[in-house]
């Protein structure tokens, strides 16, 4: 059967991807959440080749396809719905495809890390807090509560490869559970924790390549890159098998072979190779900071954050421990602090400067946690995503690290950086303070200068094609031209007492077919609600107008609405004022009928709806006499 044809027919019978809220599948059925059930052509659906039945349950529209085929139809279905959804961002997408491979690789790493940030923040912050507190109160370490909290605090990092594997599996399109299994294999308890052994010479041998190259039975705790590569391999193998294994065998053969092959490759090639690369980075780093005059530290301070991105920073504990064992002076930790607080500070500058609320609410806690020594949220959630803050943080980190080296700052322990680092740098308090402040200040300043909100859509070029297509000769100052496209409705028929009874003024309503409000005439935006569901205009002809998109939609708190102007702006006839997502608003149970109200109705003798049936943008909607 033709999966693509089946999927596209299903999609069109649903009323297109605009009517689709979400899609999932189980062993036999597509489970779809639909915006407007009225648009679904059930009889058409049932007759599609490959569809064995359709019914509604639990708020879902369930389309029965069958075992072994449903996942393939689903794959095509998602592609069809997804490709169209992304078409709004065609430009962005094309740009992303053109980006050099290393940028795409970093973006992929970011995409993998962002979803697991909450787990790392929760346990990582606890880890930093516990570290700091137990340095301040040495007795704390022997208490029961400490033992308990200690388990909480390192669980996510101990099993980090599983989290990464799951997230990477989602990104690469592998089965999430198979991904988790690969992650589990890599840190299986029967393997020795690679961080708790010094050198690998006495370890049991797990595998031997032709008797020449022994692979030791060590786990990959705290590793990032080997896990990501392993899951990438898994996804390739799994997809390859899905295409070739007959449907009846797919359920058994594909998972078995995928895990077997990926697991074997991971434990014998991918893991060892990337561990080896990490060891080289470690050796290089040790050599680097031995360059005198702060130059080495300067470079390392800059390179530190990228090594966090690559996941190799977990090895720095080894450097720090060997320093402490050597002369009790950990000169690595101040570099780490400089780099960490600089990344936090760069993210903080973004948090302060951005006007994007979602970004702000994410960047702020991410920054805070970086100051406490946990940088992943700031680096992956903010700085890597925008690039420039990462560079700002690297510059700040470099400056701070150079200061630390010149001032001879050292720590007497390891595992703590940032604010709590003061507790283990009491011998060189002033130097540490300077390191901290300079890294913070430089990173903040550079990030502040470099970071700009990406092309805020609210400043998009005003669209005026409608204004041009409707020549102004026919313009009559005594008429109101439709700010929306759709069906003209008598105000008295608006299903809301307040509007219908003309409490707010008189006018007419439009039941919109397109989610856009344009200026009906030249004028000024006198009121724009924070929730963007209503806009007040004072037109140049003296008319005051309120356009209220939907009924009771104030309760949506702005969800589904986007404003393209702000209070006090001059607007010209036909300019886009607000766009709104009709299926979304309807799916939340609200009506999108939009009263267009002349609020200074007392200044007019008569206000009459002048259109019947459908109106286009800027068609005559209301006639008035003064």
């Amino acid at each position: 059967m033709d999966y693509n044809k089946c999927a596209s027919e299903i999609l069109s019978a649903l009323g297109g991807k605009d009517n689709l809220a979400s899609a999932a599948h189980c062993a036999t059925r597509l489970r779809l959440v639909i915006g407007d059930n009225g648009k679904v052509k059930k009889s058409v659906l049932e007759n599609i080749d490959g569809v064995k039945g359709v019914f509604e349950a639990a708020g879902q529209l369930q389309v029965i396809i069958g075992t072994g085929t449903v996942n393939k139809v689903y794959g095509e279905f998602i592609k069809l719905a997804g490709v169209e959804a992304a078409s709004k961002d065609d430009v962005k997408k094309a740009a992303a495809a053109k980006a050099p491979w290393y940028k795409r690789a970093i973006k992929t790493l970011g995409d993998i890390f962002v979803p697991i940030i909450p787990a790392i923040v929760a346990t990582g912050l606890l880890c930093g807090l516990l570290g700091g507190l137990s340095k301040a109160f040495p007795d704390l370490g022997s208490t029961k509560i400490y033992t308990l909290l200690d388990i909480f605090s390192n669980a996510a990092l101990t099993f980090l490869p599983i989290l990464i594997a799951v997230s990477a599996a989602k990104i690469f399109g592998a089965n999430v559970y198979l991904g988790a299994v690969i992650g589990m294999i890599m840190i299986h308890p029967n393997l020795i924790n690679a961080w708790s052994v010094g050198d690998g010479s006495n370890l049991p041998v797990l595998w031997s390549w032709f008797g020449l190259w022994d692979i030791h039975a060590t786990g990959y705790q705290g590793h990032v890159i080997p896990v990501v590569i392993a899951i990438l391999v898994l996804s390739i193998i799994e997809k390859w098998l899905h295409k070739r294994v007959p449907e009846v065998l797919d359920l058994f053969v594909t998972p078995l072979v995928s895990v077997l092959v990926t697991g074997f490759l991971t434990m014998t090639v991918i893991g060892p190779v990337f561990s080896q690369i990490e060891t080289w980075v470690l050796t290089g780093a040790q050599w680097l900071i031995s360059i005198p005059l702060g130059i080495g530290s300067f470079l390392m301070g800059a390179a530190y954050a990228p090594t966090v991105v690559a996941g190799v920073h977990h090895m720095y504990n080894a450097i720090e421990l060997s320093m402490l064992a050597n002369n009790g002076m950990n000169t690595w930790m101040p570099i780490a602090t400089a780099a960490n607080v600089a990344q936090g500070s760069a993210a903080l500058a973004v948090a302060v400067k951005t006007r994007n609320r979602k970004l702000k609410s994410m960047a702020l806690p991410a920054s805070l946690s970086a100051f406490l020594g946990i940088t992943e949220p700031a680096i992956f959630g903010v700085n890597v995503r925008f690039g420039k803050p990462l560079i700002a943080g690297m510059i700040g980190g470099a400056c701070g690290a150079a200061v630390a080296s010149i001032m001879g700052v050292y720590a007497t322990a390891n595992g703590v950086t940032g604010v709590f680092g003061f507790l283990i740098t009491t011998d060189t308090f002033v130097g540490y303070l300077l390191t901290f402040l300079i890294a913070t200040a430089v990173a903040f300043a550079v990030s502040w200068i470099l970071y700009k909100d990406a092309e805020p859509e609210t400043e998009a070029v005003p669209e005026k094609p409608e204004a041009e297509s409707k020549p102004a000769e026919n313009y009559d100052d005594n008429c109101v031209y439709a700010p929306l496209k759709g069906k003209a409705v008598l105000m008295a028929d608006v299903p809301d007492e307040t509007f219908a009874s003309d409490v707010l003024g008189m006018g007419a309503a439009v039941d919109p077919s397109e989610g856009k409000v344009v200026a009906p005439a030249d004028g000024e935006v006198s009121t724009l609600f924070d929730t963007h569901h209503a806009i007040g205009l004072t037109l140049d002809n003296g008319m005051e107008m309120l356009i209220h998109v939907g009924i009771n939609t104030v309760e949506l708190n702005g969800e589904g609405y986007k404003a393209f102007v702000s209070e006090g702006d001059r607007v010209t006839r036909g300019q886009t004022l607000i766009t709104f997502d009709i299926p979304l608003i309807k799916s939340k149970g609200y009506k999108t009928i939009t009263p267009v109200i002349i609020t200074n109705a007392d200044d007019y003798k008569s206000i009459i709806k002048a259109a019947d049936g459908d109106v286009d943008f800027l068609d005559k909607l209301i006639e008035t006499t003064k």
Binding site: V503, L504, T527, F529, N600
Partner: protein, 86 residues
């Protein structure tokens, strides 16, 4: 003249519907009513767009000044309306 202040408790503040109802209520009396939000000049309470333009939000305090023959009754009605709706 009668004056009183009221602190908004409604989550979304004075939005379209309550503003319209408030204007309608005030127009039912002959007294002149002005509303003042801290830091902004007082406005005529019957000017719907200006009233919504104040952007009164939850937690904001507004001051009503009512002057006219039926100011007692008007003030009482406004206060009741505010308490019941906002």
């Amino acid at each position: 003249m009668k004056q009183f202040t009221y602190t908004i408790k409604d989550e979304v503040g004075i939005h379209a519907r309550p503003a319209g109802n408030l204007v309608k209520l005030i127009k039912g009396y002959s007294s002149t009513v002005t509303i003042e939000k801290e830091g902004k000049p007082a406005i005529n309470a019957t000017a719907l767009m200006k009233l919504m333009g104040l952007g009164v939000k939850c937690g904001d305090t507004v001051k009503f000044s009512i002057e006219g023959d039926d100011e007692e009754a008007s003030a009482k009605a406004i206060e009741e309306f505010m308490t019941a709706n906002l």
